[in-house]
Subunit: 367 residues, 2 copies
C-alpha cells in the first residue's frame, strides 16, 4: 500500500508538477491496469535517458480522467525538454510528450461533462502523453469530433495553433494581404501556408536552397503557397513592385541573416514575429528598420499563450482549426506512425529530421 | 521683379518643400529686409557645402509669419540631413535647421491668433531655422511663454519631446517603476533622466567607460539618475536582486552589444525602444528574449510622430515640458552660444562632439 501511494505520488508529480492533487483511492478498479510508457530520470541525450517501462495506473482522483491514448507526436520541444534545454519546469522522473489524442476510458466521480468513448486531446501544456494509458486532470482535456483523424488530432495544439495565433494576434490581416515567412517548409510554416490559403491571404515563403528545391516548391505550392523563393531568389524578386502588397506581417523561425532579409521586404509599420531560431543566431534588426520603417518585433510562444488565454479564445481556435481539418483545408503533417517499442527510431528522427518538409514521427498506441 | 519672384519661389521651396504656396506680394513693406542665413546647394561635407549668405526676405503670404530668430541649435540630424544621409526629403538649395525660437515680427493678413512680439518655436519638422529672419507658415509655429529661456525653447522639440514620448507611449510607467537606457549621457538620455526624476521613475543608466567616468557619473546623478553604470559594472551589478524592480522599458540609442545587454536585465514582457544607433551596429536580440521573455522591440522617430499626432497631444506635451523647464526640473543642455558668422565652429563640434555630456552649439541671432 505504501509502495503504491509512493508510486501514485510520483506519477502525479510527473504529470502535473504545478498542481497539488490529493489521490482518492477507490477500491482497486484500475489498480491492476498497466500503462506502457516512456520515462526519463535525468536530463540528457534522449537516446540515453529515455526508457521504456510498464507501470501500474494510479487510482483516479475525483476530477481526473483515464485516457486510452491513440497517438502522440515526437516534437522538437519534447527533445529540448528531455535535454533540459527547454524553459519549462519538469520534475523528474518525467513522462515526455505534451500533445496527443485518445479515448476516455473512465472518469473521476466528480467529472460530469465527459464520458467513456469521448475522443479527447490535451488542451493545456502538460507533460505525459507518451504512454498508452494516462491519467489527466479533467481541465486539461478537450473533446474533438470522432471524425477528426488521429494524426490531425494528435498534432493540433502545437503547430496549427501557433500558426493560427500568429496570423490572428499581431496584425489585422484582410483578404489579399501578404504574409512573408522564412522556414516556409517548417512544421508551423506549412500550417501558415494552409491557413492563409483558406483565409484568402497571400504568402511569400522563403526557404534555403537545396538539391530537391523544385520538389519542395511543388510541395509547398500544392499546400497553397502563393510564392516560394530561395533566399538568393528573394533578393532579385520583383513581386513587391506592383504584383502584390508589401507584407504587414513577417514570421521568423530562423533568425540571423534570414530574419533580417524578411525585414527588407516588409512594409512600413509592419510587424515581425519570431517563434523559432533554427540558425541558432540572434535576430538582427537594422536600426533604420526600427526608426525609419517603424517595424515592431515580437515573439510568440504557444505555451505562454495557453497559460493566460480565456477558455473562449481556446475553444474558438480549436473549432476553427478542426473545421479546416475536416474540410481538408488543413492537412496532417507528413508523418510516420511507429509503435511504442520503436520509440528510438522516432527520437533519432526528431534529433536529425529527414526530408525537405520534415517527417513527423507519431507514437501509435493502437493495437 | 522677375529675379525677385524667382528668389521668392526658391526660398519657399527650401522652406516647405511639401507645400505649394502662392506668394502674394503686397507692396514692398518687407522687400528691403535682408535675412542673414546659412544655405547649401548640394549634399556633402557640411564644412564644404554650407555657405553664409544674405538674401532679401520674400513678401509674406496671407497665412505666413515673419519671425526674428533668437536661437537655433546645431543637431546631429541637421548634419545628417546636409550630408544627404537622413531620410527626410529636402529640396535644394536648402537652409538647414529644424529647431529654433524667435519673436514674431509680422503676420500675414489672414493670421488672427499671433501677434508681433509673441515668442514662438517651430511645432513641425520644417527646415530653415539657421537664419536671423525667416518666413514660416502659421501652422508651423506655436507660442511659448516669454519666461522660457531661449536655449530651452530653441531645443524643446527634438530631445525633450523624444524622451517624453518614449516614456509615455510604449509602457504605462508608474511611480517607482524602472527604466534602463544606454547612452544615458546622450542629449536625449539626459532628458530621460530628468523627466523620470520628475515623474518618480527610477533610471538605470549605462554608459561607456572613459577616463572622466567619475565626473560623468556625478553629472548624471546631479541631473537625477538613480544609477549610472559602465557596461562592465552593469554585468556584475546586483540591483535587480531585490533593490529595484526589473525594468519594463529599455531605451536604446547604441545598438549592437550594448542594446543586447539591456535586454538581459529587462523584465518579462517588457519593451525596448530604439531611437538611435551610435555604434553603427544593428540591434541584436536573442531569439529566447523574444520567445521565452516575450520582449517586444519598437523604434521611435519624433519626425514621424509629429506627422500623425493630433494637435491636442502636441499641445499637452509642450505644456508639460515647459512646466518642467520653468520649474527647473528640466534643464537646458550643456551648450555654447555662437554667432552666425562662427557657424563653422558649430558644424565642427556637431561632427565630432566634445565633452562627456556633449556640448550643444546654439546659433545665436541676437545682436
Amino acid at each position: 500500500m505504501t509502495a503504491l501511494k509512493a508510486l501514485s505520488k510520483t506519477a502525479l508529480t510527473v504529470l502535473y508538477p504545478r498542481q497539488k492533487c490529493t489521490l482518492v483511492l477507490r477500491g482497486n478498479q484500475i489498480r491492476n491496469l498497466m500503462s506502457r510508457q516512456l520515462v526519463y530520470n535525468e536530463f540528457g541525450d534522449p537516446l540515453q535517458v529515455v526508457k521504456y517501462r510498464e507501470c501500474e495506473v494510479p487510482a483516479l482522483g475525483k476530477q481526473e480522467v483515464l485516457v486510452r491514448m491513440l497517438a502522440a507526436p515526437v516534437n522538437p520541444a519534447d527533445i529540448n525538454t528531455i535535454q533540459g534545454k527547454y524553459p519549462v519546469k519538469v520534475n523528474l522522473p518525467s513522462i515526455p510528450g505534451n500533445e496527443g489524442v485518445g479515448f476516455v476510458e473512465q472518469v473521476g466521480s466528480e467529472v460530469q461533462d465527459l464520458q467513456r468513448g469521448n475522443k479527447v486531446i490535451l488542451a493545456t501544456s502538460l507533460q505525459g502523453t507518451w504512454r498508452n494509458l494516462a491519467v489527466f486532470p479533467r481541465t486539461s482535456l478537450t473533446v474533438v469530433p470522432d471524425a477528426l483523424g488521429n494524426v490531425e488530432a494528435a498534432t493540433l495544439t502545437v503547430n496549427p495553433c501557433t500558426a493560427f495565433r500568429m496570423l490572428s494576434d499581431f496584425v489585422c490581416l484582410k483578404k489579399d494581404d501578404v504574409v512573408i515567412q522564412n522556414g516556409g517548409n517548417s512544421a508551423c510554416g506549412q500550417n501558415v501556408i494552409q491557413i492563409c490559403k483558406a483565409w484568402g491571404i497571400k504568402t511569400v515563403n522563403v526557404v534555403r536552397d537545396r538539391p530537391e528545391i523544385s520538389e519542395l516548391k511543388k510541395y509547398l505550392t500544392n499546400l497553397g503557397a502563393t510564392y516560394v523563393f530561395t533566399e538568393e531568389e528573394m533578393r532579385s524578386a520583383q513581386i513587391f513592385k506592383g504584383e502584390v502588397k508589401k507584407p504587414m506581417l513577417g514570421l521568423n523561425c530562423v533568425g540571423g541573416k534570414s530574419g533580417a532579409q524578411l525585414l527588407r521586404y516588409m512594409n512600413h509599420s509592419s510587424t515581425m514575429v519570431t517563434y523559432g531560431g533554427m540558425s541558432r543566431e540572434p535576430v538582427i534588426v537594422p536600426t533604420s528598420a526600427f526608426i525609419f520603417k517603424n517595424i515592431s518585433c515580437h515573439g510568440f510562444w504557444m505555451t505562454e499563450w495557453n497559460k493566460h488565454a480565456p477558455a473562449e479564445a481556446k475553444e474558438q481556435m480549436k473549432d476553427s482549426l478542426i473545421k479546416l481539418m475536416l474540410t481538408k483545408q488543413l492537412k496532417a503533417p507528413t508523418h510516420k506512425l511507429v509503435k511504442l517499442k520503436d520509440f528510438e527510431e522516432a527520437l533519432k528522427n526528431a534529433l536529425a529530421p529527414q526530408g525537405f518538409a520534415g517527417c513527423k514521427y507519431i507514437l501509435d498506441f493502437t493495437d
